[in-house]
């Protein structure tokens, strides 16, 4: 155990020394810390003025929001556990600790403690939810409770995933048992939801209200416990909060004991997922960016062959790859989710504006572009070596994603527009604004590549990328907002959208013109698998 203390101490000592040795890194960390502290202070100061009693939303709704949010991580974790386990360990643990005479139980504890550290860091975003806290009438202390609950569940999920893997690895009957248990956990809530839907005649808001007030939600293991424990604390019921949080701790401890009893039996299971993940990371670092997206899923090779010549061959290659990746071709589950999400949002906000959907879509797509096939091409040498002009290569390597986004946007906005009763002209303008926004994003990516290159750390890349987008779009956005508010009503929205779309068009052309020749004047991209170098 002393060796593990030494390992932890030495790792942190070297990490800190590394920061102090590099002034650039130190400044970057200071800026990040200052940013976080600033946001916390803003949250605190915002929370200092309590909301009016009639403005405060019932805490029960907060339980529903927390439950739904955590469900997004909980369910995939169960399936991940059935399939591949979790990343509690690193490759250095496998190679150095697993073969050492240190007790397996101590190693497991060390990994869990390390995970707690990562969970604490990953949960900082909770402190930025000042607006949410104000809506529900609690301040910084309340955010601390939410933070504790979130960290608790995050750690539990890690332990649960590993335990499921240890229990069910390669054993079909046991896998079935896990699936039945998972279904049984949520079945009562599903019954409540179904009944409420029928009872309210399909009124979604009324159905949701019945669900969040239902005691069945509060008693649903883990997610119900944590969300109910949180609102118990927030409502001043300390005993209730302790009981619910304690139940999660007890469940986590039981799973840990299960792993403990198994002694070193978890080595094989933990090693499998650690090695697979490590291989993928290494492949990505060595230029095989596609390794991340390769799955064990069997791919049927029905039709073969490509089309086009020169740079156009890249477009046809993308189409062929897409047809094999998804049965639905270019449009996968995410596209469907976007279209359904837009329709759902429109249904719940029939009096709202299509501009809201446009802003949500714009936000969602800022980082989505990074993983388009055209952008991924920049991580391998082929696109650089194809004997064609850089501009042609840029256009044809992005044709697939532009086509995909155009169809996706058109479908989502037309559907949402019809539900909201928006005029066809406004729908058309919103579609145009979104597609042009995507072109601006592409242009900004190339500008970034042309001027900054890829040899800065990922955090810096993201910051600069977002700054470029903000600078490029600011004049058009400001003019559109000014005109929109000045004219007002739907005519204002119409004029605002026209101005914004026009500016996007000019900005996109400008970005592409400025990054002309980029493929012959930049370094091939390297995937930085760490947040900082």
């Amino acid at each position: 155990m002393r060796s593990l203390f030494y390992l932890t101490r030495a790792t942190w000592k070297n990490r800190l020394a590394g920061i102090f040795k590099s002034p650039g890194k130190l400044i970057m960390y200071l800026v990040i810390i200052a940013g976080i502290v600033g946001l916390i202070v803003m949250t605190l100061s915002g929370g200092g003025t309590p909301a009016e009693p009639d403005e405060i939303t019932d805490l029960v709704w907060f339980r529903g929001i927390m439950f739904a949010f955590l469900l997004l991580g909980f369910l995939p974790a169960i399936f991940r556990g059935l399939k591949q386990g979790t990343m509690l360990f690193q490759m250095s643990d496998v190679n150095l600790l697993f073969v050492s005479p240190i007790r397996p139980q101590s190693i497991l504890l060390y990994a869990v403690i390390r995970t707690i550290g990562a969970a604490l860091l990953g949960s900082i975003f909770i402190f930025f939810q000042g607006g949410l806290a104000r809506t529900f009438g609690f301040a910084f202390g309340g955010l601390l409770v939410v933070f504790a609950g979130y960290v608790l569940v995050t750690i539990f999920i890690q332990i649960m995933t590993m335990s499921i893997y240890m229990f069910a690895n390669g054993n079909e009957p046991r896998k079935r048992i896990i699936k039945i248990i998972a279904l049984a956990l949520f079945a009562p809530l599903l019954v409540v939801a179904g009944r409420a839907f029928l009872y309210t005649g399909g009124d979604i808001m009324a159905t949701l209200e019945i669900i969040v007030y239902s005691p069945v939600m509060a008693w649903t293991p883990i997610l119900g416990w944590v969300s109910n424990g949180t609102i118990a604390f927030l409502g001043g019921d300390i005993l209730g909060g302790v009981l619910f949080y304690g139940a999660i701790l007890a469940a986590g401890a039981l799973l840990l004991i299960y792993a403990y009893v198994g002694g070193g039996e978890y080595y094989e299971d933990a090693m499998a997922v650690t090695e697979t993940t490590y291989e993928k990371i290494r492949a990505v670092e060595e230029g095989q960016i596609n390794a991340v997206f390769v799955t064990d899923k069997k791919t049927k090779v029905a039709r073969t062959g490509l089309g086009g010549t020169g740079a156009k061959a890249m477009f046809y290659r993308h189409l062929r790859e897409a047809s094999r990746q998804n049965r639905t071709g270019l449009w996968g589950g995410f596209s469907l989710m976007l279209v359904a999400g837009a329709a759902g949002f429109a249904f719940l906000n029939r009096d709202g504006s299509i501009a809201t959907i446009l802003f949500i879509f714009m936000g969602l797509n800022i980082f989505r572009i990074e993983m388009s096939r055209g952008m991924k091409d920049l991580y391998s040498h082929y696109i650089f070596l194809i004997p064609e002009s850089p501009l042609r290569k840029m256009i044809w390597s992005n044709m697939e994603v532009v086509f995909k986004i155009t169809v996706e946007t058109a479908l989502a906005f037309i559907l949402a527009g019809i539900i909201m009763g928006t005029s066809p002209l406004l729908i058309l303008l919103a579609i145009l604004a979104h597609v042009l926004f995507f072109l601006v994003l592409l242009g900004c990516q190339y500008l970034f590549l042309r001027w900054v290159g890829s040899h800065v750390n990922m955090l810096m890349q993201m910051t600069i990328y977002i700054a470029i987008i903000a600078i490029v779009l600011a004049p058009g956005a400001a003019a559109a907002l000014f005109a929109g508010f000045w004219i007002g009503n739907s005519a204002g929205l119409l004029i605002g959208l026209i101005i914004f779309a026009l500016w996007e068009f000019i900005a996109a052309i400008g970005c592409f013109a400025l990054s002309k020749g980029v493929l012959h004047n930049c370094d091939m991209l390297i995937m930085d698998t760490r947040l900082t170098k």
Partner: protein, 235 residues
């Protein structure tokens, strides 16, 4: 054929290549040797137009970033990069289309046969082992019948048959007048066929020697006399 003059490449503060000059003529095989971190891969990537650099690089007399130069250059990267969702056959078809090749099918067939890939024609990139991926990568580089070929550690991951075949191909390329540049740590593998050797250390060419200047010394002897036995890593 491949001409590098005063090449300097920096990654931030790190000077990866420092005033490097290399000349490889048609029908010559140049071997690039050096310890890890000496700057070999950076030099190769710069020649292939994958990096920004200071200095001048020409291929067949053309600027290395021009389309004309790209048409006559073949590159086998250190790590084989294949498209997971493309079959072996489609990789070659993609190269043929992207380079606008005509009458390429027979040569593609020949390459697949020589590297024992004919039965893998319909296998997807993601289904191939690392060695197979390396073979596909080599076939892609050779399909356009380049006039200059650059190979970065090409033998790593290959099976004995493929190693023998690649060595034969390199000799054939030489006799066809192709300029060949090979970076390797396996000094023995190129002992028979090299014409010029460049030894790199600390981002610089510390020695250039041609076979005709050698007097009974092996490449290995020269390498260790230059780099020392306790070379370590340069970076």
């Amino acid at each position: 054929m491949i001409s590098v003059k005063n090449l300097t490449k920096k990654y931030g503060k790190l000077l990866a290549n420092d005033g490097v000059s290399v000349q490889i003529n048609s029908g010559q095989m140049a071997v690039l040797l050096g310890p890890n971190g000496a700057g070999k891969s950076t030099l190769i990537k710069s020649i292939c137009g994958l990096l920004r650099f200071e200095g001048s690089i020409t291929i067949n007399g053309l600027d290395n970033k021009s389309s004309g130069a790209k048409k006559v250059l073949g590159y086998v990267p250190e790590m084989p990069v294949v498209y997971p969702m493309l079959t072996v056959g489609e990789h070659l078809e993609f190269i043929a289309r992207a380079y606008k090749l005509t009458d390429w099918e027979d040569y593609a067939e020949e390459l697949l046969t020589r590297f024992e890939l004919t039965d893998k024609r319909k296998k997807l990139g993601k289904e191939l082992s690392k060695g197979m991926q390396q073979k596909v990568s080599i076939c892609c580089a050779l399909l356009p019948r380049p006039k200059a070929v650059i190979l970065d550690e090409p033998l790593v991951g290959l099976d004995p048959h493929a190693i023998r075949e690649l060595k034969r191909i390199l000799v054939e390329l030489k006799t066809q007048g192709v300029a060949v540049m090979v970076s390797t740590h396996l000094i023995d593998s190129t002992e028979r066929d090299w014409d010029t050797t460049y030894i790199m250390q600390g981002g610089k060419i510390v020695m250039e020697c041609s076979r005709t200047d050698m007097e009974g010394e092996s490449l290995e002897d020269i390498y260790f006399s230059i780099t020392g036995t306790n070379q370590g890593e340069d970076k």
